[in-house]
Symmetry: C2
Subunit: 190 residues, 2 copies
DNA sequence: GGTTGACAACCAACTGGTTGGTTGGTCACA
DNA sequence: TGTGACCAACCAACCAGTTGGTTGTCAACC
């Protein structure tokens, strides 16, 4: 338990766990308040609604994510490996993104502009590393690399089913396979 | 509206839409019954519970999916393209899989054995097309190819954000990019 | 220094609409 | 007459959000 953190931050922490576990519809505001050790009314005082609390959680998680992994530069295949490791060590972020994606479907997510910031920089760095222009093709490449790294954590049951056995072994194998796959595609980039 | 279909089947159809749209926790059994045009009690008579109805929906959707797209043979990059098109034309399946994956987290999904059937065949076909053995590496390759095709439909908002503009154009570009990416990785397979 | 008032953080208790699931019975048909 | 499909009405638990009030803090004022 956090010895000294603000009520607001404890709500955010508790909400992250609850939303990552059960999604927007499945999360219970009473549970969040109880786990934060504060009264439920504080959620509405600080955030306004369950859904706005979710948005605040996502925004925070994405900011941490952007800080946690750097830009795509140098060995791009290893960048994919770093992304893979990040998702392995911080599984909540991807779960939050998936809940959000399913929830908003093809409607734009709130806060889109503010969450944009990091990506221009990433596309530019990737274009530099590839020796290409900053164009749609490079954006598509970035998107695909993000997907390669995230996919094994997106449908882990399917992975566990196609590659039975110990979870740790499977992850090691999948990481190596994913990095090698990305390397082959990137090395022969036109 | 289906002019002649059994009550059970109409419940399954209505449930597929509802679950794909809102997930297990977000779906409403009253809505499902109303859209099927039957009494809610029928859900419990036929399926037993909301969650068992969800399982029935998923099982049916996966069976259709397996039938709808063939085996990975011939041009494997085009197999990825076919998968991409399938997800574009039948977006409900992937949404159902994602809801299920998030719901069961790392617990095994029910019915695992019965849903297994198709995959052995797919791995064997892929091994044959690649000229490799039926081993974990081939399973990992299949898993990655499935992911490449599914990823743009998994986080469509991120795609729309990285590649702004018309949805149709973006899909055409992403499909071509994904197929080309897969081709480069597969052509230089060790 | 002590009193007062304003304000923000917080909480226990409440509310009323919603929800998954059940019950008792009608109807058609064998 | 018995049986299975079906339904209207019901129910108790649940849930997001609200309300009225308590407490602690801090500054203004005498």
């Amino acid at each position: 338990m956090d010895v000294m953190s603000s009520t607001r931050q404890r709500l955010l922490d508790a909400a992250r766990d609850e939303f990552a576990a059960h999604g927007i519809a499945g999360a219970r505001v009473d549970t969040i308040a109880a786990r934060a050790g504060v009264n439920k009314e504080r959620i509405y005082g600080y955030f306004g609604s369950k859904e706005k609390l979710f948005d605040a959680v996502i925004t925070e998680a994405k900011a941490e994510h952007a800080k946690g992994i750097g830009l795509p530069e140098g060995d791009l295949a290893e960048y994919v490996g770093r992304l893979y490791d990040y998702h392995r060590q911080h599984p909540l972020l991807l779960r939050l993104l998936l809940w959000e994606s399913l929830h908003y479907d093809d409607r734009p997510v709130p806060d889109q502009d503010r969450r944009a910031q990091g990506y221009d920089e990433k596309i530019a760095a990737l274009a530099h590393a590839l020796g290409t222009d900053v164009d749609r093709e490079t954006a598509a490449t970035l998107f695909t690399l993000l997907g390669l790294a995230a996919w094994p954590h997106t449908l882990p049951q399917l992975a566990g089913f196609l590659m039975p056995g110990d979870t740790e072994d499977r992850h090691n194998a999948l990481r190596a396979h994913t990095v090698a796959f990305a390397r082959r595609a990137l090395e022969h980039h036109p």
